[in-house]
Amino acid sequence: MMTTTTAARILLLVATRKGAWLYYGDTARRSWRADGPHFLGHIITHMVLDPRDGRTLLAAAKTGHLGPTIFRSTDLGRTWNEATKPPAFGPAAGTQARAVDHTFWLTPGPADEADVWYAGTSPQGLFRSEDGGVTWVPTSCINDDPQYRQWMGTVQDGTPDGPKLHSIIVDPRDSKHMYFAMSGGGMHESLDGGGTFAPLVEGMEVVEGFDPAVITFHDPHCVRLCPSNPDRLYQQNHCGIYRLDRPSKRWVRIGKNMPKAVGDIGFPMAVHPRDADTAWVFPMDGTSVWPRTSPGGEPAVYGTRDAGNTWQRLDAGLPGSQAWWTVKRQAMTADRLDPVGLYFGTTSGEMWMSRDEGRQWESVARHLPEIYAVETAEIA
């Protein structure tokens, strides 16, 4: 495998329960300089650098007491400004009245739509910005549609941290082709730029005893589109790992090929930037009361090189026992260098990385707050 000769440096964007950190890597990805905390004490659920301009940084924030907002920086976090109109639902009466608890997911728009961003919230809502994240407009066909509201359920139907809209994906070939996922509420697709959406859940399983025909019961945890083949998506679901090859509408449960003792439950999903047959997951214990820890206290990434037909355990360098953490759905990602660097942040506040596609792992940072999200960006 080639070793990268590029002078690109990786910037890690780490969002935690108590603030955000930026880690500047050297060109070899061997040493990392911490810049932070930013927003100490704020719950930062996601922080993303706009790949279109390489300088606009958005952070989704709230605190234990205060409502949600979006902070923006155009100088890599040296200064921050607050969105003048953060994501917020429209006014409604009675049980239809919802308030955004937090913005959970941020997705920059396509390359040909500068300043467009999308946001997913808890409870489930889809929002769009056309001014680089300064003001946000609700997507009424999702947020206010009676059918979608039924599929979303109530807050009490959601996950312990609140039901979420996430995995907002814009097809890099066609900005009118979009996907998003909801926990719970299934996977959805739009062919008209977000004007209308329809479920895309065929083949996805639900908890035993429930009817998979009911969209509400579907719980995709994280969905990724392969940059090298935008017709292929991988999904880590509450009920397994899946692959979808368009134009098919049927997800295939490739997690059946995982070792039975480990299972195919988890939160994150990461994909290779240049090889659509390669993807990585971080399994967790989804048995009994759902401990949401590494199975057996032995954390490992699992990778596939053949589109999910076989999986390899990748745990060299990780703790061999008594490590009871896991990795949340936004907290594992890949860079675009060669070999690909993999990164994940743990619920126990550790950052890990591999500069050889998962073969060997090493710690980047320890003793951070619980890590909610990790993103990478290339900087000069």
Binding site: G64, L66, G67, T69, A83, G90, V100
Partner: protein, 85 residues
């Protein structure tokens, strides 16, 4: 009137005591937001409800109705409820 600002909102006001005017709670909060953009939404959600861990007091009374009339000379006290983790 005087408005007492909790520590979580000092990043907006820069001080714990500020002046704002208005005939109702809503008016005072609107005035605050004009002076310190964004501060209102951190306290009041989009359905015009006081957020769960924010409390407003006026003359010893906890306020839940944003249309509650106020008079000049009083003090609106904004506090962050005891919670954490």
């Amino acid at each position: 009137m005087k408005v007492l600002i909790p520590s979580a909102l000092l990043s907006y006001t820069g001080g714990s005591h500020v002046e704002a005017s208005g005939a109702t709670v809503a008016d005072v909060l609107e005035h605050l937001d004009r002076r310190f953009p964004g501060i209102r939404f951190r306290m009041i959600d989009e359905q015009q409800r006081v957020r769960p861990h924010i409390r407003l007091f006026y003359e010893g009374e906890q306020l839940r109705d944003l249309d509650r009339p106020l008079h000049d000379g009083g003090e609106l006290i904004i506090v962050q409820a005891l919670s954490g983790g």
